[in-house]
Protein backbone atom coordinates (compact mmCIF):
# COMPACT_ATOMS: atom_id res chain seq x y z
CA UNK A 1 0.00 0.00 0.00
CA UNK A 2 1.38 3.40 -1.00
CA UNK A 3 1.12 6.61 0.98
CA UNK A 4 -0.93 9.48 -0.41
CA UNK A 5 2.23 11.42 -1.44
CA UNK A 6 3.52 8.45 -3.43
CA UNK A 7 0.14 7.99 -5.07
CA UNK A 8 -0.02 11.69 -6.06
CA UNK A 9 3.45 11.43 -7.60
CA UNK A 10 2.49 8.24 -9.43
CA UNK A 11 -0.73 9.68 -10.86
CA UNK A 12 0.86 12.98 -11.91
CA UNK A 13 3.06 10.98 -14.26
CA UNK A 14 0.32 8.55 -15.31
CA UNK A 15 -2.44 11.10 -15.95
CA UNK A 16 -0.99 14.42 -17.12
CA UNK A 17 -4.42 15.93 -17.96
CA UNK A 18 -6.07 15.13 -14.65
CA UNK A 19 -6.30 17.32 -11.59
CA UNK A 20 -4.90 15.40 -8.62
CA UNK A 21 -5.27 16.46 -5.02
CA UNK A 22 -5.31 14.98 -1.56
CA UNK A 23 -8.82 14.86 -0.14
CA UNK A 24 -9.81 14.40 3.48
CA UNK A 25 -9.02 10.69 3.40
CA UNK A 26 -7.96 9.56 -0.05
CA UNK A 27 -6.27 10.85 -3.20
CA UNK A 28 -8.89 12.41 -5.47
CA UNK A 29 -8.51 12.50 -9.24
CA UNK A 30 -10.75 14.92 -11.15
CA UNK A 31 -10.98 14.55 -14.92
CA UNK A 32 -12.85 16.26 -17.74
CA UNK A 33 -16.09 14.64 -18.87
CA UNK A 34 -14.74 13.55 -22.26
CA UNK A 35 -11.72 11.84 -20.60
CA UNK A 36 -13.92 9.84 -18.18
CA UNK A 37 -13.88 6.45 -19.90
CA UNK A 38 -10.28 6.78 -21.05
CA UNK A 39 -9.03 7.59 -17.53
CA UNK A 40 -11.01 4.73 -15.99
CA UNK A 41 -9.48 2.34 -18.51
CA UNK A 42 -5.97 3.64 -17.79
CA UNK A 43 -6.51 3.16 -14.05
CA UNK A 44 -7.82 -0.38 -14.52
CA UNK A 45 -4.81 -1.34 -16.62
CA UNK A 46 -1.97 0.57 -14.88
CA UNK A 47 0.64 -1.10 -12.64
CA UNK A 48 -1.46 -0.67 -9.51
CA UNK A 49 -4.41 -2.30 -11.33
CA UNK A 50 -7.56 -0.77 -9.90
CA UNK A 51 -9.71 -3.76 -10.72
CA UNK A 52 -12.42 -3.35 -8.08
CA UNK A 53 -15.09 -0.68 -8.44
CA UNK A 54 -16.32 -0.33 -4.88
CA UNK A 55 -18.89 2.35 -5.41
CA UNK A 56 -20.13 4.71 -8.08
CA UNK A 57 -22.67 7.40 -7.34
CA UNK A 58 -23.68 10.94 -8.20
CA UNK A 59 -24.06 14.17 -6.27
CA UNK A 60 -26.26 17.05 -7.36
CA UNK A 61 -24.37 20.33 -6.94
CA UNK A 62 -26.91 22.72 -8.44
CA UNK A 63 -26.69 23.32 -11.38
CA UNK A 64 -24.07 20.66 -12.20
CA UNK A 65 -23.75 16.96 -11.33
CA UNK A 66 -20.72 15.21 -9.94
CA UNK A 67 -20.09 11.53 -10.66
CA UNK A 68 -17.81 9.95 -8.10
CA UNK A 69 -16.15 6.51 -8.13
CA UNK A 70 -14.37 4.76 -5.29
CA UNK A 71 -11.79 2.39 -6.69
CA UNK A 72 -9.53 -0.10 -5.01
CA UNK A 73 -6.88 -2.52 -6.11
CA UNK A 74 -7.29 -6.11 -4.95
CA UNK A 75 -3.53 -6.68 -5.12
CA UNK A 76 -2.01 -3.55 -3.58
CA UNK A 77 -5.11 -2.41 -1.59
CA UNK A 78 -4.70 1.22 -2.63
CA UNK A 79 -7.95 3.18 -2.42
CA UNK A 80 -8.63 6.22 -4.61
CA UNK A 81 -11.48 8.49 -5.67
CA UNK A 82 -12.23 9.38 -9.30
CA UNK A 83 -14.52 12.28 -10.12
CA UNK A 84 -15.97 14.23 -12.99
CA UNK A 85 -18.55 16.96 -13.45
CA UNK A 86 -21.51 17.14 -15.85
CA UNK A 87 -22.49 20.72 -16.69
CA UNK A 88 -25.48 20.04 -18.95
CA UNK A 89 -28.47 19.81 -16.60
CA UNK A 90 -31.20 19.35 -19.20
CA UNK A 91 -29.65 16.36 -20.90
CA UNK A 92 -26.88 14.97 -18.65
CA UNK A 93 -24.90 12.24 -20.42
CA UNK A 94 -21.74 10.34 -19.55
CA UNK A 95 -19.92 7.25 -20.82
CA UNK A 96 -20.74 3.98 -19.10
CA UNK A 97 -17.95 2.09 -17.32
CA UNK A 98 -19.78 -1.19 -17.75
CA UNK A 99 -17.18 -2.63 -20.13
CA UNK A 100 -14.37 -2.06 -17.59
CA UNK A 101 -16.13 -3.09 -14.39
CA UNK A 102 -19.37 -5.11 -14.95
CA UNK A 103 -20.70 -4.08 -11.52
CA UNK A 104 -21.08 -0.54 -12.88
CA UNK A 105 -24.04 -1.70 -15.00
CA UNK A 106 -26.38 -1.88 -12.01
CA UNK A 107 -24.97 0.99 -9.99
CA UNK A 108 -25.31 3.18 -13.08
CA UNK A 109 -28.90 2.07 -13.45
CA UNK A 110 -29.46 3.31 -9.91
CA UNK A 111 -27.90 6.67 -10.80
CA UNK A 112 -30.15 6.89 -13.88
CA UNK A 113 -33.13 6.10 -11.67
CA UNK A 114 -32.31 8.68 -9.02
CA UNK A 115 -30.73 11.52 -11.04
CA UNK A 116 -31.82 10.99 -14.64
CA UNK A 117 -28.23 10.89 -15.87
CA UNK A 118 -27.96 8.92 -19.11
CA UNK A 119 -25.07 6.54 -19.78
CA UNK A 120 -23.69 6.04 -23.28
CA UNK A 121 -23.15 2.42 -24.39
CA UNK A 122 -25.04 1.07 -21.40
CA UNK A 123 -26.51 -2.39 -22.22
CA UNK A 124 -29.77 -2.07 -20.29
CA UNK A 125 -30.63 1.45 -19.15
CA UNK A 126 -33.97 1.10 -17.35
CA UNK A 127 -35.31 2.43 -14.07
CA UNK A 128 -34.29 0.24 -11.17
CA UNK A 129 -36.50 1.05 -8.19
CA UNK A 130 -39.16 3.51 -9.30
CA UNK A 131 -41.87 3.73 -11.96
CA UNK A 132 -41.10 5.18 -15.37
CA UNK A 133 -43.08 8.40 -14.86
CA UNK A 134 -41.73 9.22 -11.42
CA UNK A 135 -39.36 12.19 -11.24
CA UNK A 136 -35.70 11.98 -10.30
CA UNK A 137 -35.92 12.13 -6.49
CA UNK A 138 -32.29 12.69 -5.52
CA UNK A 139 -32.05 15.85 -7.61
CA UNK A 140 -32.04 18.84 -5.31
CA UNK A 141 -34.85 20.55 -7.24
CA UNK A 142 -37.15 17.53 -7.06
CA UNK A 143 -40.59 18.33 -5.71
CA UNK A 144 -43.17 15.77 -4.72
CA UNK A 145 -46.16 17.87 -3.76
CA UNK A 146 -48.27 14.96 -2.56
CA UNK A 147 -45.91 13.05 -0.31
CA UNK A 148 -43.17 15.43 0.81
CA UNK A 149 -43.38 17.71 3.82
CA UNK A 150 -41.27 20.87 3.59
CA UNK A 151 -39.03 21.58 6.57
CA UNK A 152 -38.63 25.19 7.58
CA UNK A 153 -35.43 25.82 9.50
Amino acid sequence: MKSNEELIKYFTELLPDAQIQEGKQFVEITVALDKWHETAKTLAQCDLKFDFLVNITAVDYLPKFMIVCHLTSTTTRDFIVLKTFIEDRDNPTIDSLYDIWPTAEFQEREIFDMFGIKFNNHPDLRRLFLEDDYGYPLRKDFKDEINMIELKN
Partner: protein
Protein backbone atom coordinates in the same frame (compact mmCIF):
# COMPACT_ATOMS: atom_id res chain seq x y z
CA UNK B 1 -56.97 -20.94 -21.08
CA UNK B 2 -56.36 -17.25 -21.53
CA UNK B 3 -52.64 -16.47 -21.36
CA UNK B 4 -53.27 -13.57 -19.02
CA UNK B 5 -54.48 -15.95 -16.35
CA UNK B 6 -51.32 -18.05 -16.44
CA UNK B 7 -48.39 -17.25 -14.21
CA UNK B 8 -45.90 -18.07 -16.95
CA UNK B 9 -45.43 -17.28 -20.65
CA UNK B 10 -44.30 -19.73 -23.32
CA UNK B 11 -42.38 -18.10 -26.16
CA UNK B 12 -42.37 -19.24 -29.78
CA UNK B 13 -38.94 -20.91 -29.49
CA UNK B 14 -40.12 -22.96 -26.50
CA UNK B 15 -38.57 -20.79 -23.78
CA UNK B 16 -40.65 -20.38 -20.67
CA UNK B 17 -40.65 -17.10 -18.76
CA UNK B 18 -41.48 -17.65 -15.12
CA UNK B 19 -41.69 -15.26 -12.20
CA UNK B 20 -40.09 -16.32 -8.93
CA UNK B 21 -41.47 -13.91 -6.39
CA UNK B 22 -42.12 -11.27 -5.21
CA UNK B 23 -43.82 -13.59 -2.73
CA UNK B 24 -41.72 -16.69 -3.25
CA UNK B 25 -40.56 -18.20 0.06
CA UNK B 26 -37.00 -18.85 -1.12
CA UNK B 27 -36.26 -15.18 -1.80
CA UNK B 28 -36.71 -14.25 1.89
CA UNK B 29 -38.28 -10.93 1.04
CA UNK B 30 -39.88 -9.09 -1.82
CA UNK B 31 -37.50 -9.88 -4.66
CA UNK B 32 -38.81 -10.91 -8.08
CA UNK B 33 -36.60 -13.05 -10.28
CA UNK B 34 -37.74 -13.22 -13.88
CA UNK B 35 -36.38 -16.57 -14.99
CA UNK B 36 -36.06 -17.61 -18.64
CA UNK B 37 -36.14 -21.39 -18.83
CA UNK B 38 -35.39 -23.97 -21.49
CA UNK B 39 -37.23 -26.95 -20.08
CA UNK B 40 -35.89 -27.07 -16.54
CA UNK B 41 -32.60 -25.33 -17.31
CA UNK B 42 -32.10 -21.69 -16.42
CA UNK B 43 -31.10 -19.56 -19.43
CA UNK B 44 -31.28 -16.14 -17.85
CA UNK B 45 -32.18 -14.55 -14.53
CA UNK B 46 -33.36 -10.93 -14.45
CA UNK B 47 -33.79 -9.57 -10.91
CA UNK B 48 -36.54 -6.98 -10.43
CA UNK B 49 -36.16 -4.94 -7.27
CA UNK B 50 -37.70 -1.88 -5.66
CA UNK B 51 -40.69 -3.44 -3.91
CA UNK B 52 -39.61 -2.03 -0.55
CA UNK B 53 -37.68 1.00 -1.70
CA UNK B 54 -38.11 3.56 1.06
CA UNK B 55 -35.82 6.31 -0.18
CA UNK B 56 -33.46 6.13 2.78
CA UNK B 57 -30.85 8.20 0.93
CA UNK B 58 -33.36 10.99 0.36
CA UNK B 59 -34.59 10.80 3.96
CA UNK B 60 -30.99 11.15 5.17
CA UNK B 61 -30.82 14.58 3.53
CA UNK B 62 -33.45 15.79 6.01
CA UNK B 63 -32.13 14.07 9.14
CA UNK B 64 -29.36 14.82 11.60
CA UNK B 65 -26.53 12.32 11.93
CA UNK B 66 -27.96 10.96 15.17
CA UNK B 67 -31.32 10.35 13.48
CA UNK B 68 -29.66 8.64 10.51
CA UNK B 69 -28.41 5.88 12.84
CA UNK B 70 -31.99 4.68 13.20
CA UNK B 71 -32.49 4.54 9.43
CA UNK B 72 -29.39 2.40 8.88
CA UNK B 73 -30.88 -0.33 11.08
CA UNK B 74 -33.62 -0.77 8.56
CA UNK B 75 -31.31 -1.52 5.62
CA UNK B 76 -29.67 -4.80 6.55
CA UNK B 77 -31.72 -5.65 9.61
CA UNK B 78 -29.59 -8.71 10.40
CA UNK B 79 -26.38 -6.67 10.69
CA UNK B 80 -28.05 -3.69 12.33
CA UNK B 81 -25.18 -3.11 14.73
CA UNK B 82 -22.53 -2.93 11.99
CA UNK B 83 -24.66 -0.56 9.93
CA UNK B 84 -24.93 1.76 12.94
CA UNK B 85 -21.22 1.51 13.53
CA UNK B 86 -20.43 2.56 9.95
CA UNK B 87 -22.17 5.92 10.39
CA UNK B 88 -20.74 6.37 13.89
CA UNK B 89 -17.17 5.69 12.73
CA UNK B 90 -17.59 8.13 9.85
CA UNK B 91 -18.74 10.92 12.16
CA UNK B 92 -16.08 10.12 14.76
CA UNK B 93 -13.27 10.09 12.19
CA UNK B 94 -14.50 13.30 10.60
CA UNK B 95 -14.64 15.19 13.91
CA UNK B 96 -11.62 13.48 15.46
CA UNK B 97 -13.58 12.14 18.43
CA UNK B 98 -11.59 9.66 20.51
CA UNK B 99 -13.92 6.87 21.63
CA UNK B 100 -13.29 5.31 25.10
CA UNK B 101 -11.55 1.91 25.13
CA UNK B 102 -14.56 0.33 26.83
CA UNK B 103 -16.81 1.32 23.96
CA UNK B 104 -14.43 -0.06 21.33
CA UNK B 105 -14.39 -3.53 22.88
CA UNK B 106 -18.13 -3.58 23.56
CA UNK B 107 -18.67 -2.68 19.89
CA UNK B 108 -16.46 -5.54 18.72
CA UNK B 109 -18.28 -8.04 20.93
CA UNK B 110 -21.63 -6.81 19.65
CA UNK B 111 -20.41 -6.88 16.04
CA UNK B 112 -19.42 -10.50 16.34
CA UNK B 113 -22.56 -11.50 18.25
CA UNK B 114 -24.60 -9.90 15.48
CA UNK B 115 -22.53 -11.74 12.88
CA UNK B 116 -23.10 -15.08 14.60
CA UNK B 117 -26.84 -14.40 14.93
CA UNK B 118 -27.01 -13.48 11.26
CA UNK B 119 -25.12 -16.57 10.14
CA UNK B 120 -27.33 -18.73 12.37
CA UNK B 121 -30.46 -17.35 10.76
CA UNK B 122 -28.95 -17.86 7.33
CA UNK B 123 -27.94 -21.43 8.19
CA UNK B 124 -31.44 -22.19 9.43
CA UNK B 125 -33.13 -20.70 6.39
CA UNK B 126 -30.68 -22.27 3.94
CA UNK B 127 -31.45 -25.70 5.31
CA UNK B 128 -35.13 -24.95 4.94
CA UNK B 129 -34.64 -23.77 1.35
CA UNK B 130 -33.07 -27.13 0.51
CA UNK B 131 -35.77 -29.15 2.27
CA UNK B 132 -34.07 -29.79 5.63
CA UNK B 133 -36.64 -28.36 8.00
CA UNK B 134 -35.02 -29.61 11.24
CA UNK B 135 -32.06 -27.25 10.75
CA UNK B 136 -34.39 -24.31 11.16
CA UNK B 137 -35.28 -25.26 14.73
CA UNK B 138 -31.67 -25.89 15.77
CA UNK B 139 -30.52 -22.54 14.41
CA UNK B 140 -33.40 -20.60 15.90
CA UNK B 141 -32.96 -22.25 19.30
CA UNK B 142 -29.36 -20.99 19.58
CA UNK B 143 -30.03 -17.62 17.99
CA UNK B 144 -32.58 -16.96 20.71
CA UNK B 145 -29.74 -16.94 23.27
CA UNK B 146 -27.99 -14.08 21.45
CA UNK B 147 -31.22 -12.15 21.12
CA UNK B 148 -31.76 -12.56 24.87
CA UNK B 149 -28.35 -10.94 25.50
CA UNK B 150 -29.36 -8.07 23.21
CA UNK B 151 -32.74 -7.69 24.85
CA UNK B 152 -31.20 -7.57 28.31
CA UNK B 153 -28.86 -4.72 27.40
CA UNK B 154 -30.75 -2.69 24.76
CA UNK B 155 -34.39 -3.57 25.29
CA UNK B 156 -34.76 -4.59 21.65
CA UNK B 157 -33.87 -7.78 19.90
CA UNK B 158 -33.30 -6.95 16.25
CA UNK B 159 -33.00 -3.23 15.49
CA UNK B 160 -31.18 -1.99 18.54
CA UNK B 161 -29.78 1.38 17.34
CA UNK B 162 -27.38 1.07 20.24
CA UNK B 163 -24.46 2.95 18.72
CA UNK B 164 -24.37 6.68 18.66
CA UNK B 165 -21.59 9.01 17.44
CA UNK B 166 -19.04 9.05 20.26
CA UNK B 167 -20.04 5.84 21.98
CA UNK B 168 -23.14 3.99 23.04
CA UNK B 169 -26.67 5.10 23.86
CA UNK B 170 -26.34 3.84 27.44
CA UNK B 171 -24.23 1.37 29.35
CA UNK B 172 -24.63 -2.36 28.86
CA UNK B 173 -26.32 -4.51 31.50
CA UNK B 174 -24.01 -5.60 34.38
CA UNK B 175 -24.55 -9.23 33.36
CA UNK B 176 -23.51 -8.59 29.74
CA UNK B 177 -20.00 -10.09 30.01
CA UNK B 178 -21.14 -13.06 32.07
CA UNK B 179 -23.99 -13.96 29.74
CA UNK B 180 -21.85 -13.49 26.63
CA UNK B 181 -19.23 -15.90 27.96
CA UNK B 182 -21.97 -18.36 28.89
CA UNK B 183 -23.26 -18.18 25.33
CA UNK B 184 -19.78 -18.76 23.84
CA UNK B 185 -19.31 -21.82 26.03
CA UNK B 186 -22.79 -23.11 25.16
CA UNK B 187 -22.48 -22.51 21.44
CA UNK B 188 -19.06 -24.15 21.15
CA UNK B 189 -20.76 -27.34 22.37
CA UNK B 190 -23.67 -26.96 19.96
CA UNK B 191 -21.72 -26.09 16.80
CA UNK B 192 -20.68 -29.74 16.04
CA UNK B 193 -24.41 -30.54 15.88
CA UNK B 194 -24.75 -28.12 12.97
CA UNK B 195 -22.07 -29.98 11.05
CA UNK B 196 -23.58 -33.37 11.84
CA UNK B 197 -27.00 -32.21 10.78
CA UNK B 198 -26.29 -30.39 7.52
CA UNK B 199 -22.60 -30.19 6.55
CA UNK B 200 -22.06 -33.95 6.41
CA UNK B 201 -25.44 -34.72 4.92
CA UNK B 202 -25.10 -36.45 1.53
CA UNK B 203 -28.21 -34.86 0.03
CA UNK B 204 -27.09 -31.41 1.15
CA UNK B 205 -23.59 -31.90 -0.27
CA UNK B 206 -24.92 -33.12 -3.60
CA UNK B 207 -27.19 -30.12 -3.85
CA UNK B 208 -24.45 -27.55 -3.09
CA UNK B 209 -21.10 -28.91 -4.25
CA UNK B 210 -20.27 -27.73 -7.77
CA UNK B 211 -23.48 -25.68 -7.93
CA UNK B 212 -23.26 -21.98 -8.80
CA UNK B 213 -19.50 -21.79 -9.27
CA UNK B 214 -18.23 -18.21 -9.14
CA UNK B 215 -14.64 -17.61 -10.20
CA UNK B 216 -12.42 -15.10 -8.40
CA UNK B 217 -12.46 -12.88 -11.51
CA UNK B 218 -16.27 -12.85 -11.60
CA UNK B 219 -16.42 -12.00 -7.90
CA UNK B 220 -14.08 -9.04 -8.34
CA UNK B 221 -15.70 -7.83 -11.56
CA UNK B 222 -19.21 -7.87 -10.07
CA UNK B 223 -18.12 -6.41 -6.74
CA UNK B 224 -19.08 -9.47 -4.69
CA UNK B 225 -17.78 -9.13 -1.14
CA UNK B 226 -18.25 -10.79 2.22
CA UNK B 227 -18.48 -14.56 2.70
CA UNK B 228 -19.74 -14.93 -0.89
CA UNK B 229 -16.57 -13.29 -2.23
CA UNK B 230 -14.31 -15.17 0.16
CA UNK B 231 -15.84 -18.47 -0.97
CA UNK B 232 -14.34 -17.67 -4.39
CA UNK B 233 -10.83 -17.17 -3.06
CA UNK B 234 -11.04 -13.39 -3.05
CA UNK B 235 -9.63 -11.89 0.16
CA UNK B 236 -12.01 -9.04 0.91
CA UNK B 237 -12.44 -8.87 4.69
CA UNK B 238 -12.50 -5.17 5.59
CA UNK B 239 -11.61 -6.11 9.17
CA UNK B 240 -8.23 -7.24 7.77
CA UNK B 241 -7.56 -4.96 4.79
CA UNK B 242 -8.73 -1.66 6.32
CA UNK B 243 -9.07 -2.32 10.07
CA UNK B 244 -11.42 -0.15 12.10
CA UNK B 245 -12.14 -0.15 15.84
CA UNK B 246 -9.81 -2.55 17.61
CA UNK B 247 -9.80 -5.30 14.98
CA UNK B 248 -6.07 -4.78 14.37
CA UNK B 249 -5.34 -5.73 17.99
CA UNK B 250 -7.30 -8.99 17.91
CA UNK B 251 -6.20 -12.31 16.52
CA UNK B 252 -8.44 -13.98 13.97
CA UNK B 253 -8.16 -15.61 10.58
CA UNK B 254 -9.73 -14.54 7.34
CA UNK B 255 -11.53 -17.61 6.03
CA UNK B 256 -10.95 -18.18 2.33
CA UNK B 257 -12.13 -21.10 0.21
CA UNK B 258 -11.05 -21.41 -3.41
CA UNK B 259 -13.81 -23.64 -4.84
CA UNK B 260 -16.32 -20.85 -5.43
CA UNK B 261 -19.40 -23.08 -5.31
CA UNK B 262 -22.39 -22.87 -2.96
CA UNK B 263 -20.75 -25.29 -0.54
CA UNK B 264 -17.62 -23.12 -0.29
CA UNK B 265 -19.78 -20.11 0.57
CA UNK B 266 -21.54 -22.27 3.16
CA UNK B 267 -18.25 -23.38 4.71
CA UNK B 268 -16.90 -19.81 4.87
CA UNK B 269 -19.86 -18.79 7.01
CA UNK B 270 -19.61 -21.83 9.25
CA UNK B 271 -15.88 -21.23 9.86
CA UNK B 272 -16.53 -17.52 10.39
CA UNK B 273 -18.81 -18.37 13.30
CA UNK B 274 -15.85 -20.09 14.98
CA UNK B 275 -13.61 -17.07 14.32
CA UNK B 276 -16.28 -14.77 15.75
CA UNK B 277 -16.41 -16.88 18.91
CA UNK B 278 -12.61 -16.52 19.20
CA UNK B 279 -12.85 -12.75 18.79
CA UNK B 280 -15.57 -12.50 21.44
CA UNK B 281 -13.46 -14.51 23.90
CA UNK B 282 -10.52 -12.18 23.40
CA UNK B 283 -12.52 -8.97 23.52
CA UNK B 284 -14.85 -9.71 26.45
CA UNK B 285 -11.94 -9.84 28.90
CA UNK B 286 -10.64 -6.50 27.69
CA UNK B 287 -13.85 -4.57 28.43
CA UNK B 288 -12.54 -2.25 31.12
CA UNK B 289 -14.45 0.08 33.39
CA UNK B 290 -14.92 3.57 32.09
CA UNK B 291 -17.37 5.92 30.45
CA UNK B 292 -19.72 4.52 27.81
CA UNK B 293 -19.54 7.58 25.59
CA UNK B 294 -17.22 10.43 24.71
CA UNK B 295 -18.43 13.99 25.00
CA UNK B 296 -20.20 14.97 21.78
CA UNK B 297 -22.17 18.11 21.00
CA UNK B 298 -25.93 17.57 20.85
CA UNK B 299 -26.07 18.78 17.25
CA UNK B 300 -23.30 17.34 15.10
CA UNK B 301 -22.03 19.36 12.14
CA UNK B 302 -19.39 17.79 9.94
CA UNK B 303 -16.80 20.08 8.36
CA UNK B 304 -17.34 20.71 4.65
CA UNK B 305 -16.06 17.88 2.46
CA UNK B 306 -16.51 14.28 1.45
CA UNK B 307 -16.16 11.25 3.69
CA UNK B 308 -16.17 7.53 3.09
CA UNK B 309 -16.21 4.74 5.64
CA UNK B 310 -15.94 1.00 5.00
CA UNK B 311 -17.23 -1.61 7.40
CA UNK B 312 -17.53 -5.41 7.18
CA UNK B 313 -21.11 -6.47 7.82
CA UNK B 314 -22.29 -10.07 7.95
CA UNK B 315 -22.83 -9.96 4.18
CA UNK B 316 -19.90 -7.97 2.88
CA UNK B 317 -18.48 -4.53 2.56
CA UNK B 318 -20.79 -1.67 3.52
CA UNK B 319 -19.63 1.76 2.38
CA UNK B 320 -21.06 5.00 3.67
CA UNK B 321 -20.41 8.06 1.52
CA UNK B 322 -21.26 11.48 2.92
CA UNK B 323 -20.97 14.89 1.30
CA UNK B 324 -21.25 17.60 3.94
CA UNK B 325 -21.77 21.31 3.39
CA UNK B 326 -21.11 22.16 7.04
CA UNK B 327 -24.77 22.09 8.10
CA UNK B 328 -26.46 19.71 10.53
CA UNK B 329 -27.95 17.63 7.72
CA UNK B 330 -25.71 15.80 5.22
CA UNK B 331 -25.84 17.27 1.69
CA UNK B 332 -25.81 13.82 0.16
CA UNK B 333 -25.58 10.41 1.71
CA UNK B 334 -25.05 7.18 -0.20
CA UNK B 335 -24.82 3.62 1.03
CA UNK B 336 -22.80 1.10 -0.94
CA UNK B 337 -24.75 -1.92 0.19
CA UNK B 338 -23.12 -5.36 -0.06
CA UNK B 339 -26.33 -7.16 -1.06
CA UNK B 340 -26.95 -4.88 -4.02
CA UNK B 341 -23.73 -6.02 -5.65
CA UNK B 342 -24.07 -9.64 -4.51
CA UNK B 343 -27.52 -9.94 -6.12
CA UNK B 344 -26.57 -9.04 -9.67
CA UNK B 345 -23.96 -11.76 -10.00
CA UNK B 346 -26.86 -14.26 -9.88
CA UNK B 347 -27.44 -14.20 -13.65
CA UNK B 348 -23.80 -15.13 -14.33
CA UNK B 349 -23.51 -17.99 -11.84
CA UNK B 350 -26.99 -19.51 -12.19
CA UNK B 351 -26.89 -19.86 -15.98
CA UNK B 352 -27.05 -23.49 -17.09
CA UNK B 353 -28.23 -24.86 -13.76
CA UNK B 354 -31.63 -26.39 -13.03
CA UNK B 355 -34.36 -24.20 -11.58
CA UNK B 356 -34.26 -26.15 -8.30
CA UNK B 357 -30.58 -25.20 -7.98
CA UNK B 358 -31.45 -21.52 -8.41
CA UNK B 359 -32.88 -21.67 -4.88
CA UNK B 360 -29.63 -23.19 -3.60
CA UNK B 361 -27.55 -20.52 -5.36
CA UNK B 362 -29.58 -17.46 -4.35
CA UNK B 363 -29.75 -18.84 -0.81
CA UNK B 364 -25.98 -19.26 -0.65
CA UNK B 365 -25.52 -15.57 -1.50
CA UNK B 366 -27.43 -14.71 1.71
CA UNK B 367 -29.46 -11.81 0.33
CA UNK B 368 -31.34 -9.38 2.55
CA UNK B 369 -33.77 -7.49 0.33
CA UNK B 370 -34.26 -4.23 2.32
CA UNK B 371 -30.52 -3.66 2.00
CA UNK B 372 -30.76 -3.90 -1.79
CA UNK B 373 -33.70 -1.50 -2.10
CA UNK B 374 -32.76 0.93 0.67
Amino acid sequence: MDTKLKNYIVKENGDIILNMGPQHPSTHGVLRLEVVLKGETVKQVVPHIGYIHRGIEKMCEYDTYKQIIHLTDRMDYLSAHMNNEAVCLLVENALGIEVPERVKYIRVVLDELTRIASHQLWWSAYGMDLGALTAFFYGMRDRERILDIFEESFGSRLLHSFNTPGGLMHDVHPNFQKHTMEFVKYFRKKLPEYHQLLTDNVIFRNRTQGIGVMSKETAIAYGVTGPSGRGSGYSCDVRKIAPYGVYDQLEFEEIIYDEGDSFARYMVRMKEIEQSLNIIEQAVDKITDGPYTAKVKPIIKLPEGEYYQRVETARGELGVYVVSDGKKFPYRMHFRSPNFNNLFVLNTIAKGHLIADLVAISGSLDLVIPDIDR
